[in-house]
C-alpha cells in the first residue's frame, strides 16, 4: 500500500474509533493478543475475525479498523471478508445468537413452529435483535444434524433433537442470562447413528498403522496402489485421486499443500461429521499419506463453522498424535515431516468448492477462482495443492494398508469401493450407511426403513431428485452420483415445499460473483414464493425452466450449474405439486395491485372507483381508465 493510502486508512481509523475508555483499551488488548497469536498474518483473517467476534460479540467498525491496521490490509478488504460470511456480524445481534437449521429435513421435523414459539416467548421478530440487545433468533442453512433434528446453533454451538420443552427451557435460560456453556449438557449431545458398516467403518486399524504402511510403500508405490484402486473423489465430482495427486506432485512450487475439505455443506450430508468425530485418526492418516505422496509437509483441515463443537476435540487429538510421533516432525521416526492445522469456516456453503475454500483459507471472501489453473498447480498461496474430501482421505488410508487390487474388487468397475450415505427424512432409522457402490436406491431405502416413499434427493439440494419408478437405479458415478446426501420424502410431503426450500437455500448461498447465479437463484426463489402466495401462473413454471437452461451454461462455478437440477427434476416428475399452486391458466401478477395503492389512498383520503384496481384484466380491456369499475 502506498504511503498516502496508509495515511488515509489511519485517519479513517481515528474517526471511527470511539473515544477511549477503559473498556476500549481492554478490548484493544484482547484484539492485539489474537492478532499476535496469528502472527498478524492477513491470510488468517477468517480465523482472526471469528476469534475476535467470540470475544467482542460482534465486529464493530472500530474493531474492523483495528484488525485492518494489525494485519496491514486495506480496511475495505477486511470488511469485504467480514461481510461475506453468514457467521460474522457487522452489527450487534445480541449476547445470544440462536440460529435454527433450516434444511427441509428440519422443516419436516417442525423447526418452523419451534422457531415461532421461541420468538414469541422472547418477544422478538426473526432476524432482529431484541431491544435490550439480549438475543436474536434467525435461520441458517443445514447444520448437518438431519438425522437428529430439528437442530439449532446457540452462539455457534450445536444443539440437536429440539422439542417444545427444550425451547421453553431455552427461553428461560436466555432470559436469566445463563451462559450457553452452562445449558443442559445432553442438549449438545451429537449421535453418530452408524447403521451399516462396511470396509471403512469396520477398518480395524490402529492410529498410524495406515501411515506406516504408506511409508513402507514409498511415494511411487503408494501412488501406484491408489491408481490400481481407481479411487475417485467422494465429494461428489468423482475425480480420480491418483491423477490429482500425481499432477500435484509433478507441479513445481516452493511448497506443496494438502487440504482436507471438511466444509460439509450440502443439505442432508453429515457423513464427514461422523468420520471426524469417530474416525479422525483414519482421516489424519489419510492426510499424512497424501502429504507423503505429493511431497507436502503442511496440511489444513477446513472445518465448516457449523462443526465448531468438534474443533477443540480435534485439536486435542492432533496434539496427542504429535506426542505419539504420528504427526509433526520425523513421523514414526522415519524422517517424514507433516503437520496439520485446522481452519474453521464461517457459514458459507460455497466454500465447499475447492478454489473458494482456498480463497477462504487465504483470508478472503469465498468466491470461486477462475479455473484453470487448477489448485493442483496453483492452489493455496499459489502453490501446488491437493484438496480432498474427508472420506476420500480416509479411504486412501485404507488402501495404503490393504492395497489397490483389494479395494478395486469392491463396488462397480467405474465406481470402486464403498460410499458413506447420510440418510435422513422420512425413514425409521436415519443415519450413516456404508454401502459398496452399485447398491440400488431401493436397497438403501429398505435398510433405512422407508415407507410409502414418494421421492429421494440423491445429492442434496444440488443433485437429482428421483421418483418411485427410478428406485431400482444404482448409486455409482455412472448412474446416480452422490456426495452422500440421501433425503427421503414420503407421500405425505409436498414436493413444492421441498423445491422452495432448496431455491431459498441457493439464493442465500450464491456468492454473488456471477450474474446468472446471483440473479437466477433469486428469481427462482421469488417465483416459487409467488406460487406459494397463490399468485402462480404457468408462465412462472416456464420461467424456471428457462432459468435452468441459462444457469447451466452461464454460471461461473458448480453452485450455479447445479442449483436448478433438483428443481428441474421436481418440475418434471412432480408437476401436480406445482400445478396445484397455479392461481389461473393466464398470467398472474406477483402482488396484489389494489393493495399497492393503499398508501396513496390513505394519504389522499380517496376511495372512489378510480382509487382501486381490480385483478380482472378483461374488465378493463379497451376501457378508459376513468371508466374502470372496482
Amino acid at each position: 500500500m502506498s504511503q498516502r493510502g496508509k495515511m488515509a486508512v489511519k485517519s479513517m481509523h481515528d474517526s471511527l474509533r470511539i473515544p477511549g475508555s477503559q473498556e476500549d483499551s481492554v478490548a484493544a488488548a484482547k484484539i492485539a493478543t489474537i492478532l499476535d497469536r496469528h502472527g498478524r498474518d492477513g491470510t488468517r483473517l477468517v480465523q482472526i475475525l471469528r476469534e475476535v467476534q467470540d470475544v467482542e460479540g460482534w465486529l464493530s467498525p472500530a474493531t474492523l479498523s483495528a484488525i485492518a491496521e494489525g494485519i496491514g490490509w486495506p480496511r475495505a478488504q477486511v470488511e469485504s471478508t467480514a461481510n461475506f460470511y453468514s457467521f460474522f456480524h457487522t452489527r450487534p445481534l445480541g449476547e445470544y445468537r440462536v440460529l435454527f437449521s433450516d434444511n427441509i429435513t428440519d422443516r419436516m421435523l417442525g423447526n418452523q413452529d419451534l422457531m415461532r414459539s421461541l420468538c414469541h416467548k422472547l418477544w422478538l421478530e426473526p432476524g432482529q435483535a431484541s431491544e435490550d440487545g439480549l438475543v436474536s433468533v434467525d435461520t441458517t442453512s443445514c447444520t448437518g444434524m438431519c438425522d437428529q433434528g430439528p437442530a439449532l446453533l446457540a452462539n455457534y454451538r450445536t444443539i440437536t433433537r429440539l422439542t417444545p420443552e427444550r425451547i421453553d427451557e431455552m427461553a428461560h435460560l436466555i432470559r436469566r442470562r445463563v451462559p450457553v456453556g452452562d445449558w443442559p449438557s445432553d442438549w449438545f449431545h451429537v449421535e453418530d447413528n452408524i447403521r451399516r458398516r462396511d470396509v471403512l467403518l469396520d477398518h480395524g486399524l490402529a492410529p498410524g498403522e495406515a501411515l506406516a504402511a504408506a511409508l513402507d510403500r514409498g511415494p511411487a508405490g503408494l501412488l501406484g496402489q491408489i491408481e490400481r484402486s481407481a479411487l475417485r473423489g467422494r465429494g461428489g465430482a468423482g475425480f480420480g485421486s491418483d491423477i490429482k495427486w500425481r499432477s500435484c506432485r509433478d507441479a513445481w512450487g516452493d511448497a506443496h499443500y494438502v487440504i482436507c475439505n471438511a466444509d460439509e455443506g450440502e443439505p442432508g450430508t453429515f457423513k464427514d461429521r461422523v468420520l471426524l468425530s469417530s474416525y479422525f485418526d483414519m482421516v489424519v492418516d489419510g492426510m499424512c499419506i497424501a502429504g507423503f505422496a505429493i511431497g507436502a509437509s503442511k496440511g489444513f483441515i477446513y472445518l465448516r463453522g457449523e462443526y465448531r463443537y468438534l474443533l477443540d476435540r480435534l485439536e486435542t487429538r492432533l496434539a496427542q498424535r504429535r506426542e505419539a510421533g504420528l504427526l509433526g516432525r520425523n513421523i514414526l521416526g522415519r524422517g517424514f515431516t507433516f503437520d496439520i492445522e485446522i481452519h474453521l469456516g464461517a457459514g458459507a456453503y460455497i466454500c465447499g468448492e475447492e478454489s473458494a475454500l482456498i480463497e477462504s483459507l487465504e483470508g478472503k471472501p469465498g468466491k470461486p477462482r477462475i479455473r484453470p489453473p487448477f489448485p493442483v498447480t496453483h492452489g493455496y498461496l499459489g502453490q501446488p495443492t491437493t484438496v480432498n474430501n474427508v472420506e476420500t482421505l480416509a479411504l486412501a488410508a485404507l488402501i495404503a494398508v490393504k492395497g489397490g487390487e483389494w479395494f478395486r474388487a469392491i463396488g462397480t468397475p467405474a465406481s470402486t469401493g464403498t460410499k458413506l450415505l447420510s440418510v435422513s427424512g422420512d425413514v425409521e432409522r436415519p443415519g450413516i450407511y456404508e454401502f459398496p457402490f452399485g447398491v440400488t436406491v431401493a436397497e438403501v431405502l429398505a435398510a433405512a426403513g422407508a415407507n410409502d416413499t414418494q421421492a429421494v434427493t440423491t445429492a442434496g439440494a444440488a443433485g437429482s431428485c428421483l421418483a418411485a419408478d427410478e428406485f431400482g437405479r444404482h448409486i455409482a458415478f455412472e448412474d446416480v452420483p452422490t456426495g452422500g446426501s440421501i433425503m427421503v420424502f414420503d407421500r405425505s410431503r409436498d414436493m413444492f415445499e421441498v423445491a422452495r426450500n432448496f431455491a431459498h437455500f441457493f439464493a442465500h448461498e450464491s456468492c454473488g460473483f456471477c450474474t446468472p447465479c446471483r440473479v437466477g437463484t433469486a428469481v427462482n426463489a421469488r417465483l416459487l414464493d409467488k406460487l406459494a402466495n397463490d399468485h402462480g401462473s404457468p408462465y412462472d413454471l416456464d420461467e424456471m425452466e428457462k432459468m435452468h437452461r441459462l444457469m447451466q451454461g452461464a454460471s461461473h462455478c458448480g453452485l450455479g450449474n447445479t442449483a436448478t437440477i433438483a428443481l428441474r427434476d421436481m418440475l418434471a416428475k412432480f408437476r401436480p405439486a406445482f400445478d396445484r399452486r397455479l392461481h389461473s391458466p393466464d398470467y398472474e401478477p406477483g402482488f396484489d395491485l389494489d393493495a399497492a395503492l393503499s398508501q396513496a389512498r390513505r394519504m389522499t383520503g380517496r376511495d372512489d372507483p378510480g382509487a382501486h384496481l381490480t385483478d380482472n384484466l378483461s374488465a378493463q380491456a379497451g376501457e378508459h381508465p376513468s371508466e374502470a369499475q372496482p
Partner: protein, 192 residues
C-alpha cells in the same frame, strides 16, 4: 439491413402490421431512440401502420400485432394502459431499461410513497400555507412501488438498453415483422 432484405420483407408481408407504442413511467428517451432509425421510418411505414402512439396521438389502442411499452408501472393509470395494451396486442415488448427493470423511477422503491407525498406536498420547503396532497379523482394514484412491466402483465420480449439504440430497435422490429425470433447479437446488446 440491406435493401434486398427490406424488399423481401415487403414481399412476404400480406398486410400492414399494426403497431402501438406508449411511454408509461419513462422519459420518452426510448421513443426518441426509436426515431433514431431516421429515414428507415419510411420503409418501416411500408410494413406497419401505427395505432395508439405518441406519433399518431390516438388515445386508445385497437387490435394490434405489436405493442411497445417504454417505462415501468408507477401509478394506477399505467396499470390500465398496460392492461389495455396486453388485451389488444398479440406481441408485447418491454422497451428499454425502465420497462425491463423499473429503471430510474424505481429508485423511489426504497422509500415509502406515503413519506414522499407528505414531504413533497405538506412538509417540504417553499410550499404555500395549508398545502394539501392532491386528491382529485382525475389524478391517478401512485403505486406503493414502481414495477417493471412484466410484474403486471405477460411480456413476450424484452429489449434492454437505456435507451436501446435505434439500430437495435430497427433490427428487433424487422426480425419480428419478418416472422423470425428476434435475436440481437454482439454490438446491439452491450453493457456500455
Amino acid at each position: 439491413m440491406s435493401t434486398a432484405t427490406q424488399d423481401a420483407a415487403v414481399g412476404t408481408t400480406p398486410r400492414k402490421l399494426k403497431v402501438a407504442t406508449v411511454s408509461l413511467a419513462g422519459c420518452f428517451g426510448c421513443h426518441m431512440s426509436f426515431l433514431d432509425i431516421d429515414e428507415r421510418i419510411l420503409p418501416l411505414l411500408e410494413l406497419v401502420e401505427f395505432d395508439r402512439s405518441p406519433i399518431t396521438d390516438i388515445k386508445h389502442c385497437g387490435a394490434c400485432d405489436i405493442g411497445l411499452i417504454e417505462g415501468g408501472v408507477c401509478n394506477a393509470e399505467n396499470v390500465h394502459v398496460l392492461r389495455e395494451f396486453r388485451a389488444n396486442c398479440k406481441v408485447l415488448i418491454a422497451l428499454g431499461a425502465c420497462a425491463v427493470n423499473g429503471g430510474l423511477p424505481a429508485q423511489r422503491n426504497h422509500l415509502q410513497i406515503a413519506d414522499i407525498l407528505q414531504q413533497v406536498y405538506r412538509t417540504g420547503h417553499g410550499l404555500a400555507e395549508g398545502s394539501q396532497i392532491p386528491n382529485d379523482p382525475e389524478l391517478p394514484l401512485p403505486l406503493n412501488q414502481v414495477h417493471p412491466v412484466h410484474e403486471v402483465v405477460k411480456i413476450d420480449y424484452f429489449l434492454p438498453g437505456c435507451p436501446p439504440s435505434g439500430d437495435a430497435i430497427w433490427v428487433f422490429l424487422t426480425q419480428l415483422i419478418e416472422g423470425r425470433e428476434p435475436a440481437l447479437g454482439h454490438g446491439l446488446l452491450h453493457y456500455d
